[in-house]
Symmetry: C2
Subunit: 455 residues, 2 copies
Amino acid sequence: MTAVRPAGTGLDWLATTGADWTVDPAVIASRRLDRSGWEPDGEPRAVVFPRTAEQVQAVLRGAHATRTPIVARGAGTALTGASAAGAGEIVLDLGRMNRILAIRPADGIAVAEPGVVTADLDRAAAEHGLRYAPDPASLELSTIGGNIATNAGGLRCAKYGVTRDSVLGLDVVLADGTRIGTGRSTLKGVAGYDLTSLFVGSEGTLGVIVAATLRLRSLPVPTATIAASYPDIADAAAASVALADARIQPVLAELLDEATLTAIDAAQGTSLRAAGAALLIVQTDGSPDEAERAIAVLGQGASSLRSTTDPAETAALLAARRQALPSIERLGRPLIEDIAVPRSRLAEAVREIAAIARRYDVPICTVAHAGDGNLHPLIVAGPHGAPISAAATRAGDEIFGLALRLGGTVTGEHGIGVLKRAWLEREVGPDNHALQQKLKALFDPNGILNPGKAL
Amino acid sequence: MTAVRPAGTGLDWLATTGADWTVDPAVIASRRLDRSGWEPDGEPRAVVFPRTAEQVQAVLRGAHATRTPIVARGAGTALTGASAAGAGEIVLDLGRMNRILAIRPADGIAVAEPGVVTADLDRAAAEHGLRYAPDPASLELSTIGGNIATNAGGLRCAKYGVTRDSVLGLDVVLADGTRIGTGRSTLKGVAGYDLTSLFVGSEGTLGVIVAATLRLRSLPVPTATIAASYPDIADAAAASVALADARIQPVLAELLDEATLTAIDAAQGTSLRAAGAALLIVQTDGSPDEAERAIAVLGQGASSLRSTTDPAETAALLAARRQALPSIERLGRPLIEDIAVPRSRLAEAVREIAAIARRYDVPICTVAHAGDGNLHPLIVAGPHGAPISAAATRAGDEIFGLALRLGGTVTGEHGIGVLKRAWLEREVGPDNHALQQKLKALFDPNGILNPGKAL
């Protein structure tokens, strides 16, 4: 890319940072939005591509001094508007800081720059018989920095935890350009307040992560992958709760509702719906005994059950889950929601969401990480390219309200971004919300870090 | 207990809080120290025993208004001076807030007041086939609130995480008496900044926990408990690293050095030292295959190895670890240190600690959670009842310096308290330290919450 730096943009200070930057409209357009489809007002002023932590420091010092808002960006896979940038803002694209700085198998840790693609880190760890456990659906695109900024979840976090559970320490540039280390390079440590966890999930509003020390885990061998169909969503949800009652901890437990199965069948030519109105896909990696018990538990009430240990067949059983989003996208533009409820309320949540779909006459397909009680209702919000329909927006609001009514949260793993800002205070209460705002002001007194997001 | 409330103490405002309180010198003496043996200057003014969150709020409102320092206390098992109280301070004893408010097996959560004894919660969970995973050595005495305040570790955290990994949400009273909820009642959730993790490990300096929502996990069955002796500590440390290389994740991996084995033999009449100069005790709960592989890996270079699946024999193998501290206490007053290093530096750390013991001519016995690289050098600091010897203090400082030199931390699981305050800034750096102090000032502007601790 040729850097385009016309005079008269008022951004001459960027030239002193040492980082590449551009005001090329095509580059700006390619770095302006995230995957939420949310459209900010106006265009950002420039995109900066630092290669070093020192360049990030220089950019933030300049931004702090000139009160220029900065939107840090990984791969732009956020589903909440968290990485969208608008008028007056500068995009800080961390994609070129993409080196894996260390993999230390004996210590069980890796050190990575923020722009490393998550799946690349996992593959590098696998060469040592290890793995980076968090596996958001976007893992082939999204970056470690973005995953940390949103505290990304995934399928196997039911057993192995979300991103926060794998972050041991961070190298962070604060709003004024000061650079601090947080956490540690050891597997355990409790020195001082947990600043690491405070940055995890803060959506670029408290600081910019320039490196992370991450926990690697030993690579377990799956003992069984099971696909069980049920006549009704309640049966499938009950089966997933029965696993917990039977002291079985699956790696993943993915639930697909009737609308989702119908969409997949239509798009892929499968006949999943014929086997039952709900599908539960479960994988275990404990003892073979645990796998056998899981098959027995899931078989209760199932209209059909397949189980395999063969890698190719495993991939085939998991394919239904992976095909869900592309299949639903054929129906129109999906609004991907992300509520979580106490695990025992899962069936109730799915049924209520189906009722909301009928009430607002919008298609809603629900897939869920059942082991966590984390549901993704995918609202078909109108044709692709068209604005989100009013009915879809109202249905989304009903779903947020439902999550809170069931004792849950409006976001299980995607974050608040801009789309759910109105719901945060309702969920956490005014005193908690006020405290969060005070924290933001402490970390970023000039309000330059991803303003208007997360809070 | 009869409440003793003489006039003229300047504490009449306590009477309006609804909580029991006393200035009885005997009660004050029983609530003044923790297990570090650190002696604060002077005596606290009173001990308050709230039974409800509302009473805690009233106490903090009064303390905030009168600028009276408050030292929250669970069972007083801190090893750092974190729960010791001195002149002018009021002890807030949370031991009467000891109800388990809910166990919801289908949701995988429990809700507990801070004064619940950790082992009691685990036993209550076990009735449902679940467990509360964190198991600090003090678990039969220490409380959930104290465990959260220190982010307590334990033996099985090698596989199942430290206290933070089991805390989903908190009910916290802030310094001015405001009460907020943090986190969630679901297994996943990312709404807003992670205030929960900020309170975990904050040693009573940011707020007072009045209830916690905790994650329960399914109760795995141990597949093998293995005790392997080695000719040299380096062999034992290498064996623990070899487990990780072999993709084995033990539940616990406890390392005992020569000085510790000698102390146990002297106290218990055993002959552990004769089998080898270092002992590694490992437990697995994965597949039987993993247990077999662990036995094969640990057998390499072992001078002796025993393995069992029998519960009584398992208890016998684990007994050596449990006897370590009582045996060492026969030698004198132990100063229990708590460094962590990258796992690959474990043998080096143990050898350097032995060299420090020789250099300062003080006995130091080292036990380690080898899976985490977390070492507990137990410095025999003189006769019981006598002050800590100057040589022991200097040896301790050398050990802290060693931890930092090896890329580790001065505290793996016990916390900073007062004893390690001088080391915190050296470990985290001045800019991080300054940020932590700003956080403290934000949460506690009048400086009434456990002043002089943790930072």
